[in-house]
Point group: D3
Chain length 284, copies 6
């Protein structure tokens, strides 16, 4: 992946942002020596990037991967977190410490959750080591593609706390085997890409990181060529459907689409379907 | 299927309604030349049929399929929808157009949702082409059986809008692999019956439409011989469980069953279980 | 299993409670001649046991199985329930009968739901006959391991009522193939351990009851050695995630962990991770 | 009120529909000899009228009152309901009777709830006898104006059932004195217009039916002259706000207004505000 | 009140239970020397009493007051709570202490909440000192009647914690002046019976404790003479309405009443309404 | 108020921030020539100020008022909003415009909602002109105190749109007279401070702006002297109670207080209550 084109204007400390195809951004976590682990400055930057991509009309689909061969991410940079962190902040009492911790956790959740809030679809490529925070991030992405060598674990129990950046919130809603969900979250045991595929955590497995990344880029390119009104609305409504009852979500859909169907894209879509032509859709 | 018995009194323009067994209605979409596509008169009739079946005490289970060998349904009849439709209605401004569209979408949702609201279990037989609206309908049915030749797609993105008749609302709640759900909804790609089975969208796959239909009719016949208090209550409570939290749903269940257990069926069920006899249950 | 050590102080009429390892309780339904069926005194005792285990700081994980080779449980003891039960109580009218039935169902739900409310993880070992109430109980457990000979069925439709002790509430939330969920609940048909595994109802299948029980005990032992702050919080937050929207559940998680991360366990977890040592965690 | 102009095309059996001003419909319950009581044909017609007014672009505000001096409505026509009604339908068992009753209640709820669903604001004029169903109806209206002689009561407890057409659902959400709400619902005691005003159930009290009706017609006329995009959206969003949490409702508002602000009305409103002119708004 | 008749079989340590009229229980907090303050044994007994009354078919309405002239209750018995309480329990860390505290708070909430869960209407008579826990209790009651000398305060802020036994949960739902709710909860200032009446916290104010109690007993007697199916269902449905959206609550109401209208009481109510006789209703 | 002390470090363009007492911030909208109207830079700054105050441990209570004698705020600066605003942005179609508008509304909602999210109590002083956005802001504040000359209106209907910055979401939850809420929102009519008090929208009315401000500052000073653990937790739990069902909110309260009661403040509160001393509480 050495010769990738940088995405113009997207220069960051901990991430490389490439522009593999028109309309696609490829975000690469770039701390390979640290197994792409996340310290606080890393996740703050991560949140800023996805918030920016969400509002950038030139971007229609995003791919996320880790740099290097070893890891998507090893999760929290425990070393950094244990030094001078808010996590061990002193305070006169537990309630006072709790206030700072609550803010800290919510800010952290917000940075990772920026992937879910990003209005463009996000495809995550999981490879190598994918522990702890890797799962929180993957749960926020829309589509999960894994290299066959991925080693997953919901690791937080082994550092003595329940996972709090989203895995325990989202995993029960997106994987249909709760016995498995409980087992991997409670035991913190490793699971393979094949197992992740079998239980429905990832959508597909490829033989290598390169192949997984290529599949993700191909899919992102395809999504970028489609109507952004349709694609972004579909992401929004699927996430709404996951979180709300049927009556509620159908009404929201009707309100949403009462303006979506007024787009040019709908006319273009209908016409090109009838004429068997390939439409081009404006930015959104 | 040529020699099927019509269901007495159920004569419709776009649908054949058969009476294959006592207590079972078989609804067949009957526009084979149009690949069983739905224009507005079709879905209005569809809604009326399922509302009527819901209240017909002679019917205890419903099977739904498409006529002909080619398609369950190709989805929206785009040709018809693009002619003189409300979808392209003029109006002085976007807000005024939106009002009509909102009503239009909600009426359409209501007609398809009549399958879910139907108090009797509905088994859908998917075969051949099953695109767009086919998925909305299938998500409303209780049990999905597919012929091996079924070609599925959540097609709406390719006509430039998010699906709005229920797929995006219901699919995340009924399939336990959200990566796959997002992928097929965002890309609009085809998927096969085998893939649908693997991810849990359909319950089983049969080698042909005929075999799938036979399996559905057999199951419907079996359901029709069981206690309608038990069968219809089970449908109601499973749908409630899908849409509500556990505490909420347990309470609703207790209130519901405080009268259900006062039925004759419970006594018959207990007695026949102890005596190893086969009970007969009255209409509901 | 003859030589198991009883758990001190836990003497009950219908259950054996063993202490296989430090921190683990093994609850065995002990009515093998009745196929471990549940009459009212059985489920009342069952509720009391799990409530007590929940509050017992010496216990960190629980395994539940049936005694004998034939059954986990055949479900409701229909014979006992049909004799002198509230279910057939006379009353001046349906509304008056309903009140007693509602209380009866809610008390029954509460006893079985004590497994879900138990703050310690519960691993259920399913084997042999596992009908009706067996499924309600299994849905409340966190992890489900089945022996290959298990014969499952959601049997209630065949006694003329919708299941009301939790299956219809919980199954749609924990299994990601709703077509299958509806089918087994509506038809009351048997399904095998292999099928249960394939659709995601159980986490794994072992060749025999003994092997399944051993796997459960091993996993329970492993859980008991981990941080109870992490393990019990993980159970709580996964159940919360299943039942609430994402925004709601993330906030609850932040509030929960604002005190959880103040435990010693977090410090121990971090340190032992960095030093590659194995920590010991205090009771909770 | 004798010389009122009928609303063209709105001819009904139990209701007079007048056209007092452009854009306003005045619905009058017209069974004065029966104290405007509701039997089944009355409420079915009532539902049809409000559904039709909701979709009639010529109507922008609705006033509802009873004909004659004696009553808004005495509520359910108990005599009619006790003759040949579904309420006393025979059936083989309580569960079977319950099914019919559930459908009956839901249809009845739907007819009265058509006032709430009506997209135009509905002002109800309460006067004279206003018992039982009168309160259900009043709770569905947007604005309640009472004549000083109104005699209210939530009467259902005195016919031996909890009110089921909406009072118990809506009253706790719209009146901010729950002690009072519980008292009048549990005791079925009468309360006066003055008391209704004091606790916040009605918005204002006028000295006579004529004065109350005039105030309602004046307000309706005023509402009809305003932007229908603004007025109808405000009704929708206030009802949404009442029924949803803040986060949920703010999001729905943003989606709703993303098209509402694209109306001509917003531009006209802004311009006329700056220029101090009076705008005219197109139909919706 | 000296000559009241004890309610047979209801002998408790901290409460007197009287039987003023057929079907009515009068619960009197009996620690006048402690201003009727609650220590742990007091609230545990309080919970048991209301749970028992809920299930006692001879009781149809409950009145709750404090003994003596000085206080309804001064709230938490701080002296007792500060001695040997769980509140100051030692523990190795904040997370471990939190577990015990959570259980403690939930048990306490459950005991006070037994008033809300009690299926019979509960009328609370507030008089004299009514601080802290007095408000939590009053919020759980259905109807609040105050003596004019009552001195109220939501006192918890002044002992350094947010109120946690229900006031902050329920008060915003039952009083329609949130500015006032926030003010009295944040400042912990006293407020009078007149102010409580003005903002809608209490339903009425009487000149003395004796008059308030008499009004409560009269109302309770009246409620006890009405249909218990109607009265208890009304309590249930009003509480449901307060806590749920309209669609949800209407459906629950329809399911509930599908059995309630099958009671004898409905027939008796209809008949006695038509014949102007006074019906007698059986126990529930 | 000319001699107020600025709050150190809080220098802003459109707002004065004073430090009237230890722990109290007084935010004054400072565009008196524009009647304190809000253009986009104003609300962005407003959001930043309240977010900062929320996290500033030196601040324990906030007062908000308008500068000058004429207005709290006249609401949206319509002139500024009609020039070069996103509101009239051109776009290829309605769906594309809707996206920008949605973001715009949500950002605006977020800035005003920062008052509700601010963890410290906010007391708003309403005076003079208080239109449109004034109500949105007031609904977010905790306590509302009005000068007797305040002229209120929910003005948005008169600019042709439903209010979208929070009034329609929050007003139905905080005022217990829905007839009045609907009336003032649908008609956009003025209402006085006295009327606002009568229906429960404001907590109290004072004879002048100066008196209202003094009352607010006094109350804020009092709140700042109390336990911040208690005060801030009370705000959080009351807002939670307003937005959630009872069961949900009681559980959240128990989790929240399981750490709050571990504060020093609780011990100090208990001790000072017993010893009748006045405690001093540390920052939070």
């Amino acid at each position: 992946m050495s010769a990738q084109t940088p995405l113009s204007g997207y220069t960051y400390t901990y991430f490389n942002i490439y522009s593999p195809t028109d309309g696609v951004a490829h975000v690469e976590i770039n701390r390979p020596k640290k197994l792409n682990a996340f310290s606080e400055p890393v996740w703050l930057e991560f949140g800023r990037i996805f918030t920016r991509l969400s509002g950038d009309e030139n971007i229609r689909a995003v791919v996320l991967s880790g740099s290097g061969d070893r890891a998507f991410t090893a999760g929290l940079d425990v070393q950094a977190s244990s030094e001078g962190s808010q996590l061990f902040v002193e305070g006169p009492d537990a309630a006072r410490k709790a206030k700072g911790l609550r803010s800290h956790i919510e800010e952290f959740q917000g940075c990772i959750g920026a992937v879910e809030k990003c209005e463009k679809p996000v495809i995550v490529v999981l490879h190598g080591v994918a522990l702890g925070l890797a799962i929180d991030i993957a749960c926020c992405a829309d589509i999960r593609i894994a290299a066959s060598n991925t080693r997953f674990a919901v690791k937080e129990v082994d550092i003595g706390i329940p996972a709090d950046i989203g895995t325990l919130t989202r995993l029960p809603k997106i994987v249909g085997n709760h016995s498995w969900v409980k087992e991997v979250c409670l035991t913190a045991r490793d699971f393979s890409a094949a197992e992740a595929r079998e239980v429905g955590f990832v959508g597909s497995v490829r033989e290598s990181k390169a192949a997984a990344l290529q599949a993700a880029l191909d899919m992102a390119g395809q999504l970028a060529s489609k109507s952004p009104v349709a694609v972004q609305g579909t992401k929004e409504l699927l996430n709404h459907g996951r979180d709300h009852g049927t009556v509620e979500s159908l009404r929201y859909t009707a309100v949403w689409n009462s303006v979506a169907v007024q787009s040019e894209d709908f006319k273009k879509g209908i016409v090109s379907g009838l004429k068997k032509t390939k439409p081009t859709f404006a930015k959104l």
